[in-house]
């Protein structure tokens, strides 16, 4: 995990670039709206098999922790929007979906495999990255969400 932290130190820089630069062809990831919340950014596609497992899980997490401050943002990288729409019709997420068909956000987040997710704590600091969605790791993923949601004291200590 520490290597991920090292790598993700770049992320706030990237995020600010996204926030402050103008003329984005597609996606705009305005994270200002989510200050104080734990943000789970998931890159998915209709053609990605494991995404069919991650979506029901994300829905469950949303249902369970949304009121506690968890925000899930599902970034779609399909090049054919109809395929993404069909997927959404089947999986009906309650969380926002952002369309990134040109892969601008995917490039900025340096997505290495599909699906990929990035978790930011309440201060907007990137804390965890998941390469792929692994069934057996659901509990680990959920624990990370809980850690970020409920251990705010811990994270402020880490800042020092």
């Amino acid at each position: 995990m520490s290597t991920i932290l090292h790598r993700l130190l770049l992320l706030p820089v990237l995020l600010s670039a996204v926030l402050f630069s103008s003329a984005h062809a597609t996606a705009d990831l305005n994270l200002d709206a989510y200050k104080g919340k734990v943000v789970y950014i998931d890159f998915w596609a209709s053609w990605c098999g494991p995404c069919k497992q991650s979506f029901p899980w994300m829905k469950a997490m949303h249902e369970k922790y949304n009121k506690e401050g968890l925000v899930i943002l599902a970034v779609n990288v399909d090049q054919e929007k109809k395929k993404a729409d069909d997927f959404l019709k089947e999986f009906t997420p309650d969380f926002p979906v952002i369309f990134d068909s040109t892969g601008t956000l995917a490039t900025q987040f340096k997505v290495q495999t599909m699906p990929s997710s990035y978790m930011l704590d309440r201060e907007g600091k990137p804390r965890f990255r998941h390469l792929g969605f692994h069934d057996g790791k659901r509990n680990v993923y959920e624990k990370e969400i809980r850690d970020l949601l409920f251990d705010t004291t811990k994270s402020s200590e880490e800042k020092r």
Binding site: C48, G49, Q112, G136
Partner: protein
């Protein structure tokens, strides 16, 4: 699919191919089906028929694949093969009728003048089972292991295979290496004949060996490369080494005398006046190299599939295969896929449509001795080119199921030597052409 007798020798490699296909098949479980841990089931029935009512076969197949979670995949396959018919026995067609004894030595059969001698009509059933397991063993590293068993009453085969695949360059490149080991037991009806035994000798002296065996070792190296969003290419090199009994125990060769006429078998046991035919012999070892490349190219909606294979071996057989398919998406989950395949091969060094007494065979009184180490008249080892034309139609019945129909027509044109201008074989086509057609009905679904 020849008659079981000669088919027995084909099963071994057929199973090896089945496992090689299995190795390829368990590469990434395609996206659409990784959701509910059910079985992806592919079933099909194949109906095969050859011209001149030679061989007919019906072959049901069931193949099942299950995502066990954590990128682990289990693969199972069962094939049943039921065939009837007859295939060339290796003797040359002649201007006169020829009589042959059956493999068990009991009955006889007659080939009319001008026809390719085919062995006795036959019925046989074969069953083959294969299983495979795939799982990650490291970062971007996958392992495949598998086994297979095949059985019919005169031939049994057992094999194991293993392969590893490594993804590099952001998974744009995949390096693969694999090995396949096979052990075959050949137990022909009436036993396998002594090398170059005569047809009369085999029956009279009951020269039956016990069962014979063969081992085959295959090594494969491959590279897969994504070119761009629309194209992916693969190059594979494989080495195959077979050792052991590789002759067809039921096939023989005609012997001609100095005037190019059929000869009476000189054995004192030849009370029925049969002609002289010698059972074939193939070398004990065979080393084969193969280079294969395949391209898949996605157009706006349709997909082109093109492949080329070159093989060469120490039996002198070289071959080129070019295979093209065009998958034409018709809309409404339907597709039409025309297919064409061109194949050409050179003959084996020891391929001979007949033997010549005096040079190939020494006859001293009642004793017949071969001067050759190996000889075979099996058309499979001759020089020929073959073309396949086919088309497949498929329709998706639901998100996870598909019904498809495929028909293929195969034509083999012999390029072998001409018959001698005089004598009993004059005017005959020594190496037969072959035409075959098959129809496959398939149904895939999730269970």
């Amino acid at each position: 699919m020849q008659l079981k007798k000669s088919k027995g020798l084909t099963i071994a490699h057929a199973i090896a191919q089945a496992s090689a296909v299995l190795l390829g098949a368990t590469a990434p479980l395609v996206s659409a089906h990784a959701d509910d841990h059910g079985w992806q089931v592919d079933t099909a029935a194949l109906f095969y028929t050859e011209s001149d009512s030679r061989v007919q076969a019906a072959e049901p197949v069931i193949s099942m694949k299950k995502d066990m979670g954590d990128e682990k995949i289990l693969n199972l396959k069962l094939v049943l093969d039921s065939l009837t018919g007859a295939s060339p026995n290796g003797a040359a067609p002649a201007n006169v009728a020829q009589i042959f004894t059956g493999p068990s030595g009991g009955g006889t059969y007659t080939t009319p003048a001008g026809e390719i001698p085919l062995d006795d009509e036959f019925k046989d059933t074969r069953a083959a089972i294969s299983a495979g397991w795939q799982q990650p063993i490291g970062e971007n590293l996958r392992l495949n292991v598998g086994g297979n068993i095949s059985s019919e009453f005169d031939f049994q085969s057992v094999g194991v295979n293993a392969a590893i695949a490594k993804d590099i360059n952001d998974k744009n490149t995949t390096l693969s290496a694999g090995i396949n080991l096979e052990f075959d037991n050949i137990d022909p009806v009436g036993g396998s004949p002594e090398p170059f035994a005569t047809m009369v000798d085999k029956v009279a002296k009951n020269l039956a060996g016990g069962a014979d065996t063969k081992t085959v070792t295959d090594l494969l190296l491959g590279v897969t490369q994504v070119i761009n969003r629309n194209a992916i290419v693969q190059v594979n090199y494989s080495l195959s080494m077979a050792n052991g009994y590789q002759s067809d125990p039921y096939k023989m060769l005609t012997v001609l005398d100095g005037s190019n006429n059929l000869m009476l078998d000189p054995s004192i046991d030849n009370t029925s006046g049969y002609n002289l035919y010698l059972f074939e012999v193939r070398p004990d070892s065979r080393t084969k190299h193969s280079l294969y490349t395949q391209l898949k190219y996605h157009l706006t909606k349709d997909v082109i599939d093109a492949s080329y294979r070159y093989t060469t071996d120490d039996w002198g057989v070289n071959s080129h295969t070019l295979d093209l398919k065009y998958r034409w998406e018709l809309g409404h989950a339907m597709y039409l896929e025309p297919h064409v395949r061109w194949y050409i091969q050179t003959e084996a060094d020891f391929y001979k449509p007949y033997l010549q007494a005096g040079s190939d065979v020494a006859i001293v009184g009642p004793t017949v001795t071969s001067n050759l180490d190996a000889a075979s008249a099996d058309p499979r080892l001759g020089s020929f080119d073959a073309t396949t034309f086919g088309v497949k139609y498929g329709i998706g019945l639901s998100k996870d199921s598909e019904l498809n129909f495929r028909i293929e027509k195969y034509d083999q044109k012999a390029n072998g030597p001409a018959a001698p201008a005089t004598g009993d074989l004059a005017g005959q086509q020594l190496q037969p052409d072959l035409s075959a057609m098959w129809l496959q009905i398939g149904y895939s679904f999730r269970w």
